[in-house]
Subunit: 233 residues, 2 copies
DNA sequence: CCCAATATTGAGATCAATGTCAATATTGGG
DNA sequence: CCCAATATTGACATTGATCTCAATATTGGG
C-alpha cells in the first residue's frame, strides 16, 4: 500500500542474499557438471562454502535447486542470444541461432555439461525452451519455400538432436576448429538447402555468431538485461 | 582336468541361477525406464520378487548392474539387427540400419527409455556400440561418392543425434505413422543424397526393416542366436 | 553507534539405501 | 530318496544424505 515503486530491494540483507544464492547456483552447476544427477547437497554447500542449513534458505529441496539451475542456464542463453538475433530472413535466422547454440557450448562448457547431465532438460525444455524459436523459424522457412520439409517433427528431431550431440562433442573433446560449420552445413542440407548455398551460409552464420560474442568472457554485460549465467548482480 | 566338453552347465543350480539373473535384469530395465538413474536396488529386488541379499549373488554393486543393463540392451540390438543386415551398397546399408534403429525404439520402448536415462550410454557406447557400424558405412558411402561429407565427425553428430532424438520422441509420444521415414529422408539429404532418391530409399528401407522384424513379439526366435533382450534361457 | 530484522551456522534427528551374513530352502546327481 | 552343493532369505549393521532448529553473526536504517 505505502511503498512507492517496486524497488529491487525489500528486505534488509538483500545484497548478501543475492550473493549467497548466486554462489549456491554456481556451485551446483559445477558439481552437476562433474558428478551428474546423483550429486548431493553436501557437495554443493561445500563447494559454495556455506553451511549446510543455509541451503534451505534458498531452495526448499534438491529438486527446487535442479529446477533453478535449469532455468538459470537456459535463460542465460535465451536472453543473451536468441532474442537479439534480429534478422528477417528465416533461413538466415535459423542458421544464426544454430551457430550461436554451438558456440555457446564452446563458451560455457561447464554449464552445458551440467545441462546434459540433467534429465529435467531432456524431459521438458529442449523444444519449448531456448531452442523453441527454432520451430518458428523452421516453419517460416518452409512457408517461404526455402526449406523443403514434409514432416516438421522429423525435421526438428534432426535439428535438435544434431545440436545436442554436437554440443556434447564440443564439450567433451574440446572444440575442433570448424566443427560448428560442418554440422551447420549438414543441417541446412537436410532441410533442402543446396550444397553451395549451405556451405556459404554456414560460414557466414558461424562468423556472425562469433562476432556477436557467445557471452564469452566474464563481465561483458551491455545495456539490456542480459544476465550472465553465473549470477552475481 | 577330467571334464570333457565345456558344457553350458557347471554348477548345480545353474538353471535357477540364470532365471534369477534374468529376472533381476528385466526388473532393472523396467525400474530404470520409470524412475531414471536414481533408482534404488530395493526397487529392483522388489520388482524382481527376490530378497535383498539375492541381488549381491549376481552383481557386486549398483554400478555393475547398470553396466550389465547397458550391455544386455545394447547387444540385444547389435546381435539381432545390425549383424544380419547383409547388403552390399553402403548407402542402402546405412538406410537399413538407421531404419532398424528407429523401429527398435517402437518395438522395445521400455528398454529404450531405460537407455535414454542412463548416463553410461551417452558416455561410452553410442558411437562405438551398436551404432558403431554407422561410422564404417558412412565412410564407405563417402568413398563411393554417394555421400558428400567433408567433416565425418560432424556428419556423425547429425546422424546419431537425430537418431537419439527421434527415438526419444517415438518412445514418449507413441510412434507417429511415418515419422521414421521423415527422419530418414532428412538424414539422407543431410549426407548429400538428392531429394527424390532420398525419399525413395527411405521408404524402401523402412519397409525392409519392418519385414525383417524389429524383435517385436516375445518369442519369435528363429535359428541363429538372436537373444531377446529380456533374458530367460 | 545501536538494535531489530535478517541471514548464517552446524549439531543432530530422521530416514533410506547399501551391503553382509548366518540360517534356511532348494536343487539334482547318485 | 538322500544329501551335499548351491541358491535364497531377511534381519541388521553401517553409512550417508536430507532437512530442522535454536543459537549466533551480520546487516544497514535511523
Amino acid at each position: 500500500m505505502s511503498g512507492a515503486v517496486d524497488e529491487p530491494t525489500r528486505t534488509r540483507g538483500f545484497k548478501k542474499k543475492a550473493r549467497t544464492r548466486g554462489r549456491l547456483l554456481d556451485a551446483a552447476v559445477e558439481v552437476i557438471a562433474e558428478v551428474g544427477e546423483s550429486f548431493s547437497i553436501s557437495d554443493v554447500v561445500a563447494r559454495a562454502e556455506v553451511a549446510n542449513g543455509t541451503f534451505y534458505n534458498y531452495f526448499v529441496d534438491r529438486d527446487a535447486l535442479i529446477d533453478a539451475v535449469v532455468l538459470e542456464v537456459l535463460s542465460s542463453f535465451a536472453d543473451d542470444k536468441a532474442q537479439e538475433v534480429v534478422e528477417d530472413d528465416p533461413v538466415l535466422r535459423f542458421a544464426l541461432i544454430t551457430a550461436s547454440a554451438l558456440q555457446w557450448a564452446a563458451a560455457a562448457p561447464v554449464e552445458i555439461r551440467a545441462l546434459l547431465h540433467l534429465d529435467a532438460v531432456q524431459r521438458a525444455t529442449l523444444e519449448e525452451g531456448p531452442l523453441g524459436h527454432l520451430r518458428a523459424d523452421l516453419a517460416a522457412g518452409v512457408a517461404t519455400g526455402r526449406f523443403e520439409v514434409t514432416d516438421e517433427d522429423a525435421a526438428l528431431d534432426v535439428v535438435v538432436g544434431a545440436l545436442v550431440m554436437a554440443m556434447r562433442r564440443i564439450v567433451v573433446r574440446g572444440r575442433h576448429g570448424d566443427h560448428e560449420r560442418g554440422v551447420l552445413v549438414h543441417l541446412l542440407r537436410s532441410l533442402g538447402v543446396a550444397a553451395a548455398e549451405a556451405r556459404a551460409m554456414a560460414g557466414d552464420a558461424v562468423d556472425a555468431a562469433r562476432t556477436v560474442g557467445p557471452a564469452g568472457s566474464v563481465d561483458g554485460d551491455s545495456g539490456a538485461g542480459g544476465r550472465k549465467v553465473g549470477h552475481n548482480r
